[in-house]
Symmetry: C3
Subunit: 359 residues, 3 copies
């Protein structure tokens, strides 16, 4: 007995080649990946989703996004899952190292250690199952050059054959930035340009990464706001990012300044965006960074400070340490937008998926 | 170049305020949260789902429930997911501390420790993404007052802006109780009142919490059954719960007794509901509790004991330690309802979701 | 006040008995569970799914599969989830021991240890929630008889009341084998019989289980290929599996040989299927096995070896250690099928679900 051929004539094999030839993939690793029209359109759509009660659609029915978290998540994971589902798509959450394999990252690696799979193979495979991939991979905190070049998520994007959306990388958090920009447009009814935006460093028991402050700064600059970065001199942001922001602001009718005087900064501000970060010193002298950070427990957003603003809004990306970063009185007061920011993650990501999938 | 306004006229912003104003939220933290009509209706619907082969509906299409497990789950997680899906809704499982953040619980906490987020913020955020939240948060086992007042899940419910369904708290397990009541109504074809129900403590290598025995006792009392709690004198249930059950039984034509004589209790019983618990002594003298518990390996449901019943049904909420809590001969015999109880979790929760979402 | 009966006349109770009487369950624990027609049909369907761009269907709408992973997974988990979703079904991933209970496995166990639930109860319960169960449970690596008889997954299948699909057991990986057979039929346009297939052992830092090589060997034999197993003499496969493969090949017009000369084996081969395994010696003398394995770092698929083939395809089930099992030049070259194998997991599993659910 022999095995009969599966079928006299199989359908012509024309699909798989397409899979090997990534066309113009709509990766979103930073807001800079979005051109001016897309940037405006995503923000606009997000506000419309929010104000119209977020009606479900089926525009992405049959599609699926794989959400790969190398680091933990609450908001990002659930808001991205819901964003996909509200468009009729499926979402799968993967947490490498917990229930799946550890990955090797180096090109040409001789993999005789603990990693069972190379990241390039893993993401090539996932590209066969999903129509887009969301990826969270935080900063190393030890290799400045690698973090500042966002080398890990870049490597993921090179391996993938479907669009990759950053769910926070070493250097950027575009989904947060889009949500924040949408909240601001909602708050000021589209009239954001020229408003005074303070990005305020705060005390925190840990040296946090810079993806969120980088993205918030660049976002406010791109909105043409009048931006002040308030931080102790020990905790200035990366000089390159400051320069990028300055150029971006100038291009959009705004400006960027920095100061070590928080009280002066918040005086008359329209928005106080609180966020702690370890900053570049973490890479060069972590002990010194910790010692200096510990001195600045007064870098906290209090009701008094908010009272000095121009009925200013309080923003934070969450999670937030109450009474360390900001006081209960601020967070539970009428000008706190942190919950709206969280909600806008969902709306902005729905709008972003429409772009990514061109639906 | 300046950033154009997002749109000349955005839709009026009338939605977000509604989100901040929780209307009459249908929290289900205990069966007492369900009025008489709802209680009957959920049980009735569950039996109909079961007997009609559980046809899928789309009554909750577009909705989603977030299932937050501070403690592990097999049955609850899967049955609640399926319950939502069988109504066309989505379900997301979150396990804080494993892949997401640790939470602070105390009001006014200065969060300079390990917790990265306050439970009040986390559940306020999740309320923006989900149409209901299921929450499992077990007893502390060390703070009796906190556990007996169900303080943790109450705090979750206060933070949430959507209905919260308990997936077992320190003191109650309403989903289990509704499934159990439905199984009894199925078994006795609706004629449950007056049947003899024995809640029997059993031996167990661990001091287990009281949520299930509390809920089973209150459930049987509410069904108007003739209830006996059989337990060693060292392992009486909370006096307040016993009193509540006694009142509830009287209101529904039944009664509640307790005894330390298991053999007398099961004689002629219609139902033997096995369950171990550590009881109040765990809080005051855990070593003494363990020592006394270890003496009672004979508190085990055997085939001989079941033979003394009135063709009585065996019940247990699972998971169950075979040949410690009950013998294989009982579990694999014709009167064992534990698998039906597990299945009824699904049907009862579908009925409960119809109530919670008013669909 | 008394509790009214739930309803004068409940619908007749005719459903639950059916649940207790498993009819002819379509378990798929190994490819041998598929008859000749089903085997051909699944492969045929998989190729059609691939070549036609994998259009979504709703043939399994309302159904759900529970995916239980006792061991980690990346490809299997996501491809099975997507397979179900692409047919309109739901999929739930469960990882016992991580967020759920530990299980006892022994029949008659007195469960006074750490396991909170017996596997027989767990899978009986899951059968109430799902329409099929996928189960991954790897080899013990210490009990040869148990592993070779696939005792654990057999026990799961006996407990289940719905079809069980192996997601890799101690001895078999039928989903991988079906994907591999489909890739081969795609590659050779259905003309697989008589092609030269080399299953090549490779070096690896760990002693890997035998499920994949067993299944790959039996698959190639069933396809009527001219099969050579190349391995060091220390790493022969199980004698019983070799015998089974020889008989199977003879029945389908092929043959099976084995050799310790890899270079001779690959000369003129149409397919080189690379895979490492610890083999039977792991069970009898693990230290000796490790020492012998360490000597064979030259058992690696290099570009030179592939150049000696008949324009041969390279296959591997993944995950794969680059430059240990096979060189980058092979993996990134034009004849590497490992990503297609991964993709075919999805297509083959969709076809398999159609069989399992008879849809």
């Amino acid at each position: 007995m022999t095995t009969p051929a599966v079928q006299p004539s199989l359908p012509p094999n024309g699909v798989s080649d397409a899979l090997h030839t990534p066309a113009d993939l709509r990766h979103v690793l930073a807001c800079a990946d979005l051109d001016a029209e897309t940037w405006r359109h995503v923000i606009q759509s997000a506000v419309v989703f929010k104000r119209s009660g977020a009606p479900a659609t089926q525009v992405a029915a049959g599609k699926a996004i794989g959400l790969v978290f190398f680091n933990p998540s609450l908001r990002t994971r659930t808001s991205m899952e819901r964003a996909a589902q509200q468009h009729g798509a499926d979402a799968t959450v993967l947490t490498p190292g917990s229930g799946t394999w550890d990955f090797a990252w180096e090109e040409g690696a001789v993999m005789d250690g603990t990693a069972a799979e190379h990241v390039s193979d893993a993401f090539a495979v996932l590209s066969r199952y999903f129509d887009a991939l969301g990826v969270r991979v935080f900063a190393t905190g030890t290799d400045y050059e690698q973090d500042a070049s966002d080398a890990l998520i870049q490597q993921v994007a090179e391996a993938a054959r479907v669009p990759v959306v950053s769910l926070e990388s070493a250097w950027h958090h575009p989904c947060q930035a889009l949500a924040d920009a949408s909240v601001l447009h909602d708050r000021f009814d589209g009239d954001v340009q020229g408003k005074r935006f303070v990005l305020s460093w705060t005390h925190h028991p840990k040296a946090l990464p810079m993806a969120v402050p980088n993205s918030a700064l660049l976002m406010a600059a791109r909105c043409g706001m009048d931006v002040t970065v308030a931080r102790p001199d020990s905790h200035a942001l990366d000089a390159g990012v400051m320069e990028q922001a300055t150029t971006l602001a100038a291009d959009h009718g705004g400006e960027v300044a920095e100061t070590n005087d928080l009280d002066a900064a918040v005086d008359g501000a329209d928005v106080v965006y609180a966020k702690s970060w370890g900053g570049p010193m973490v890479y060069t002298d972590p002990e010194q960074e910790a010692a200096l950070r510990a001195q600045h427990t007064d870098w906290r957003i209090t009701a008094d400070r908010m009272a000095a603003t121009n009925d200013g809004a309080f923003m934070h990306c969450l999670p937030l340490r109450r009474n360390v970063v900001a006081d209960d009185a601020v967070l539970d007061g009428p000008h706190a937008l942190h919950l709206d920011q969280a909600e806008y993650r969902l709306h902005a990501q729905r709008a972003l998926l429409e772009y990514v999938w061109n639906v």
